[in-house]
Symmetry: D2
Subunit: 149 residues, 4 copies
Amino acid sequence: MRIKEKMAVENGISHIHHIDVRFSEVDSLHIVWHGNYIKYMEDGREAFGRAFGISYLDVKAHGYTIPIVKIACEFKKPLKYGEKAIIKTTFIKTEAAKIIFYSHIYNEKDELVASGETIQIFLDEKNELCLQAPDFYNEWKKSIFETQV
Amino acid sequence: MRIKEKMAVENGISHIHHIDVRFSEVDSLHIVWHGNYIKYMEDGREAFGRAFGISYLDVKAHGYTIPIVKIACEFKKPLKYGEKAIIKTTFIKTEAAKIIFYSHIYNEKDELVASGETIQIFLDEKNELCLQAPDFYNEWKKSIFETQV
Amino acid sequence: MRIKEKMAVENGISHIHHIDVRFSEVDSLHIVWHGNYIKYMEDGREAFGRAFGISYLDVKAHGYTIPIVKIACEFKKPLKYGEKAIIKTTFIKTEAAKIIFYSHIYNEKDELVASGETIQIFLDEKNELCLQAPDFYNEWKKSIFETQV
Amino acid sequence: MRIKEKMAVENGISHIHHIDVRFSEVDSLHIVWHGNYIKYMEDGREAFGRAFGISYLDVKAHGYTIPIVKIACEFKKPLKYGEKAIIKTTFIKTEAAKIIFYSHIYNEKDELVASGETIQIFLDEKNELCLQAPDFYNEWKKSIFETQV
């Protein structure tokens, strides 16, 4: 049921993840409560991470955590119970010691439901901010973008 | 990725549903927070419902709602982030104006993680309790159990 | 707004905690989604814990964790957005290496909305089950029930 | 325990709301999961709304709903279990058919933990977008800002 595709885009690398809307995620207006899109965005990023080797658990294995420092989301259309959310997560290339993802959430009619952005930073094992991107991350980026040519 | 099987058991009909544990469902003890199993049980019931035509939306199409009146859950083993929950939902045959489901949640090693039970009642369009099971439900039960012979 | 009372009951010690129903806790039937009562019950237990010195953080300071092994809840009446949940949490005296709480949730008209029970066990610092109740817990029980005379 | 103050600021009207961090809101990094700040922001807006007569229920009584169309949040410092979130919600004056709130979340040391912004629009009883702000809202704004002089 869950379709996984890997797609290259011009300025990044994308991944598609499908989610069934849960009954408990729908509010009294009969639509997905806006805060639940933050979960969907994280699901999308983690599905990307599992596909490309940069999930929370992969990062943790290198001794780092990557907390969110900024999130933004615009809501275009409602999603209802019984519908699916199709999340396209795009990794945005940057030289900074950050991870930037764009999230585009579609319904099954391929209509844009919501779009968002997250920025994550790196904390080392002492929970201190990394001013420079860790080596493992630079190598990961290199390996990913080289295979895109 | 999501496996769906329909299985008949002696005293009921079962359905299997797979869930990826979400990062946001894990608590500071690094295990799925106990309240989230209630979501997993509902996901399992609704996956059963979609497979057999008795989901919330199916029931609503007949003019009824089926709120939970009782829930119980026993927790045997923890589930962690990165793991999958495999939920076996079993519909328990009863003559009462109730819907009874058993839920058994397993990890990928096929170890029982949690087991639970829910009881639902029928409310009609006026939000009043149905003392007798609605006709559509009796017919549904008949059709389901006949095909199990 | 939040009223806190300590009350002794015959077979236990009780504590009252008030909660405002959150918009995001109400489902498409316009009532609090049943799984959110599990949160309310935990809120009530932790408010009890903070009042009597047996909260998660108190227990952790002694080197233990107290995961839930069993939960049950019966739902009597719906709660709606704009309403308050008044949670009476009662610690039930037992000789076993367990913590047993009863939860009674009322609305502002003093009608019983839901009632539940939880059982918790003790895990030590190695995450192993305590077959006997830890000393700190026995002393805590003694101190609590002595002051109730 | 919950302190409520009404405060006027230069470019808006503010309200303070206090929240106890729930155990279930803390993730495996031992900090409040970022998506839960969206709940805190809504709690703050609704506490503002109840104090000033512009809550979801007030708006609904006039025949409108006010879904979120944009949300942004920056995370400065973590919040842990056992801590309180102090949410300052500021209504930002605008001529547009929108509701704009700024949210500033502090810990008990008065350190800024997170800051965010939401934009809401008006839908009428037919679920159609209001291109002009409804009369009741214009009157509400007038009454609120007049009393601020």
